[in-house]
């Protein structure tokens, strides 16, 4: 993976972590609220570790870019404040993430660390998938997000692996490279406090 691709991975983790942290306090069950928040924190932690590989100032890299400099995939940007879609995204994301992280493990020690933590994310996603797989709204959510999930991975071997694991047909992917409406909204809120002070201000 080159630097541009690593940045994409870092941005994916940051933005999905940001989206997942939206559920803190309002998840369907208190027990799940606590567990889900840990996942969001882990994702942000992964983003931070990846940014630190790419820059001396992880916060500046995370928050001080302009909108079009972010390299995240459309999947993570979507605002999905309903549980069926949130869990559908979580599940698809974890399946896809495992494929790309495994491919990275040999060249990047950090990937092995991330992978070990992701074990719990995968357990969590599989647990929910098991419970909800027969609920029509969950199935619909998975199908709706499927083209976006494909766009998370590069076309070719990785995408084929995703198709075979999820069991849905290959469709036209929503490719990385353009952003959805979700991102400006996130960016605005995510950077509002930071932008209110001069660059380099301590927080």
């Amino acid at each position: 993976m080159n630097e541009r691709e690593l940045l994409g991975l870092a941005d994916d983790e940051l933005i999905i972590g940001w989206r997942d942290s939206e559920w803190t306090g309002i998840a369907p069950l208190l027990e799940e609220d606590v567990a889900f928040s840990s996942i969001a924190q882990n994702e942000i932690g992964h983003a931070r570790a990846l940014y630190e590989l790419l820059s001396d100032d992880a916060d500046a890299l995370a928050f001080d870019r302009s909108l079009d400099e972010y390299r995240c995939a459309p999947l993570v940007e979507l605002k999905l404040l309903d549980w069926a879609h949130t869990i559908a995204r979580r599940w698809l994301y974890e399946v896809a993430d495992e494929i790309r992280i495994s491919a990275l493990k040999e060249s990047l020690p950090l990937a092995a660390k991330i992978d070990r933590e992701e074990t719990y994310h995968r357990m969590h996603a599989e647990m929910w998938h098991g419970r909800l797989r027969n609920a029509p709204r969950f199935r619909e959510a998975v199908e709706e997000l499927w083209p976006y999930a494909l766009g998370l991975l590069p076309a070719g071997e990785q995408r084929d692996a995703l198709v075979s694991r999820v069991g849905l047909a290959h469709v036209e992917a929503v490719e990385r490279g353009t952003h959805t409406d979700g991102l400006p909204e996130i960016w605005d809120e995510m950077t509002m406090v930071r932008r209110s002070a001069p660059a380099g201000a301590q927080w």
């Binding site: 069950l29 027990e31 799940e32 606590v34 567990a35 928040s37 840990s38 719990y120 357990m123 969590h124 647990m127 098991g130 419970r131």
Partner: protein
């Protein structure tokens, strides 16, 4: 279903009751108890048991006040003082 959670602080320590989580099965109970009782690394192990599986014992018969079986059944201070005085080992109080 209510699951009782017992946690171990560090290796070798006793398992102590820490609370309970509501969960439909062991898989959910584990996922949730892990975070509720371990997210700050405060537990090295957990035991989870459905509340129904826990057999509560909280009443005892002590009709004849069998003090010899308890520490408070022995009052050695007075006799120890006397024994020391006799042996000449009683020091200043």
């Amino acid at each position: 279903m209510i699951w009782e959670v017992f946690r171990q602080d560090r290796r070798g320590a006793p398992f102590e009751h820490a609370g309970s989580v509501v969960a439909p099965d062991a898989e959910f109970a584990e996922a949730w108890a892990r975070e509720q009782y371990g997210r700050r690394g405060e537990s090295v192990a957990l035991w989870l048991a459905p509340r129904d599986a826990v057999h509560v014992v909280d009443d005892w018969a002590d009709e004849f006040d069998l003090k010899y079986r308890r520490v408070d059944g022995y009052s050695i201070k007075a006799r120890l003082k006397e024994a020391r005085e006799r042996a000449g080992t009683a020091g200043p109080r």
